[in-house]
């Protein structure tokens, strides 16, 4: 009773809010449950879906293979399936602090090689699949993984450059970071998809996936660089002075003393940038790559299943939410452990 009084009915305003929230709850939740569960159609039958008042989860049941694997050849779906599980496994494995050793890089290299073999094939007697046909969840995960893997070292260089004493290098780094942060990601993706081919020498072509990946890397590097710079600035000046006093040259000073401390401080904000980047990979839909969101959208193009966008995007939201929420919980735990 005391809990109720303190937490729900403390004063007139509080009581008003409680009543308001409860009224909204009872007005919205029962119809939602009716729609999402009681009246919902679970069988992949579009006629039954159209006849029903409720949600059409049959759409997901019918299209889940396409949503998860895109246009990958249907009877080879086991390959992206294993690759997806493996990649998620690598993420989880790397999240454990005990494994933050140098051999983790080797684990990643081995893992990515296996994923590459699974996805492309062409050796060990499994047929070759060109990367234009990759799609769905694995594409989203690969774009994120490679985007971060290449953007991170680049961002460290950019952050160091921004704090450099050499005016030209500093100017270039500041210019790059501010330019990229000042324009929307879409304009970079457009640049990679329409403008880049115009600048390549005759006969050289880079495929669409790689071009998009380059744009994502350029984009992520600028944002990560600002996080790393925050870490660099947070180190007490004494550490810089002490490193100087040891008469270490610049790169050893940076590598042995400054960076380990700066990166440790930056882990939580780095995780947040990582999550934002994961969400931003959905933008490759606009230049026509088949990531998870794109396969969801394309599934709606079939006339029999057109008009179930609410269910489809709710499903996409849940998938993205599961990934992002677990990452953000993990980042919060990291923050508390320090």
């Amino acid at each position: 009773m005391k809990w109720l009084r303190d937490n729900l009915f403390a004063g007139g305003v509080s009581t008003l809010f409680t009543v308001l929230v409860l009224v909204l709850f009872f007005k919205l939740v029962p119809p939602f449950i009716d729609w999402a569960f009681l009246d919902a159609v679970w069988k992949p039958d579009s006629k039954a879906c159209r006849a029903s008042e409720g949600a059409c989860w049959g759409f997901i049941a019918e299209k889940h293979r396409f949503i998860l694997f895109g246009t990958y050849p249907y009877d080879l779906h086991w390959r992206p399936a294993i690759a997806t599980v493996l990649l998620i496994g690598l993420w989880i494995f790397s999240a454990i602090r005990r494994f933050w050793k140098s051999w983790l890089t080797l684990v990643w290299l081995a893992g990515l090689t296996v994923i590459g073999i699974l996805m492309w094939g062409g050796i060990l007697g499994i047929p070759y699949v060109e990367n234009e046909r990759w799609g769905g969840l694995i594409l989203t995960l690969l774009l994120t993984t490679f985007g971060v893997a290449f953007a991170f070292p680049l961002s460290i260089l950019l952050a160091l450059g921004r704090r450099s004493d050499m005016p030209v290098i500093r100017g270039l780094c500041v210019g790059y970071i501010e330019l990229i942060r000042g324009v929307p990601l879409i304009s970079l993706l457009f640049m990679a998809s329409v403008m880049l081919p115009l600048f390549l020498p005759h006969g050289v072509t880079i495929d669409k996936l790689l071009r998009a990946q380059i744009a994502m890397i350029m984009f992520a590097a600028a944002y990560l660089a600002e996080v790393v710079r925050g870490g660099l600035q947070a180190i007490p000046k004494g550490q810089y002075d002490a490193a100087h006093a040891l008469a270490l040259p610049y790169w050893r000073r940076t590598y042995l003393i400054i960076l380990p401390q700066a990166l440790r401080i930056s882990v939580p904000p780095l995780m947040n940038t990582f999550i934002a980047f994961f969400k931003d990979t959905s933008l490759v839909l606009i230049i026509g790559l088949f990531d998870l969101l794109s396969t969801v959208k394309i599934s709606l193009n079939e006339p029999a299943w057109a008009g179930f966008g609410v269910e489809a995007y709710l499903f996409a939201s849940i998938v993205y939410f599961v990934f992002c929420y677990s990452m953000s919980r993990y980042s919060r735990r990291l923050e508390q452990q320090r």
Partner: protein, 284 residues
């Protein structure tokens, strides 16, 4: 250059004066027709971007502040509903949310003849949202409404998506800003006999603003840049019109240069304004 000649693509900004030849679904302020120039089309796109960004910023700030304050409320229900909102919105990509709202409006809402009317004169239908203005009240004529003001489905979806998404981030900023104000300030305000609401308005918020303004600036910039996702749901913003122009003329370099220059200008102006405002509220 050799590449451009080979593909017979012209270069330079001469195309801006030529006739655009495509219609634009809606224009916030300017009149436009297909016989106008590319330049005018792009300006219409820019005004559309600014319209959705400005209304979005105001809506997101109001909504975000309310949610941020709710997260600090002593009321258990309010606090947790606000927390759940923030968690959900922040962990789903904006583009998914935009598609969701667009689907809700175009598929979930009834046709104009069966439009929902939550308030007298306001109608929700799959043709958009209609509401009365000083000059008129929307009325059903044939298959659509006439009179009053209209939010097209594209504009409404983009605005709802941007505002509700950014509000979640603003809520966290507001909350952090208020928590950053020393507890002693709240206690002192209490000792002076101010009520909780008065203390918040007169003592806490003015001090919290100093912490809030810098991260708020980057949220406003994010919202403006994110409005470029309009291209995915067909709202004719700057990026979407520049994209059409690029497809028609093939002049991708110029088109992208225009997009980037405009967004850089907007970004720099917003930061300049917010820096001025920040200096205004900072300690003196």
């Amino acid at each position: 250059m050799a590449n451009l000649e080979e593909r017979r693509i012209a270069s330079g900004f001469g195309f801006l004066g030529r006739e655009a030849g495509f219609e634009i679904g809606e224009s916030a302020f300017l009149r436009y027709s297909a016989s106008d120039s590319y330049l005018r089309a792009l300006v219409v796109g820019l005004t559309n971007t600014l319209a959705v960004a400005l209304i979005g910023i105001v809506t997101a700030t109001v909504l975000g502040t309310a949610i941020g304050l709710s997260r600090l409320s002593r009321n258990f229900l309010l606090r947790n509903v606000a927390a759940a909102y923030v968690e959900f919105m922040r962990n789903v990509p904006l583009l998914v949310q935009l598609f969701f709202w667009y689907a809700v409006i175009t598929e979930g809402l009834p046709g104009a003849r069966e439009a929902l009317s939550p308030l007298p004169g306001v109608f929700l239908s799959n043709r958009g949202i209609f509401f009365p203005t000083f000059s008129g009240v929307p009325e059903l004529q044939g298959f659509n409404f006439v009179g009053g003001a209209t939010l097209t489905p594209e504009f409404a979806a983009l605005l709802i998506g941007l505002a509700t998404y950014t509000a979640a981030f603003i809520a966290e900023i507001v909350r952090a800003g208020i928590l950053a104000v020393d507890r002693g300030q709240a206690e002192a305000a209490h000792a002076l006999g101010l009520s909780r609401a008065q203390a918040m308005r007169l003592v806490i918020l003015p001090q919290a603003l100093r912490v809030i303004v810098p991260p708020m600036t980057s949220q406003y910039l994010n919202l403006t840049k994110n409005s470029s996702l309009a291209v995915a749901i067909g709202y004719p913003d700057l990026v979407s019109i520049a994209n059409t122009a690029m497809n028609q003329t093939g002049q991708a370099i110029e088109g992208i240069a225009i997009i980037m220059a405009v967004y850089l200008t907007i970004s720099l102006s917003i930061s300049a304004f917010m820096n001025w405002y920040n200096a205004h509220v900072a300690f003196r």
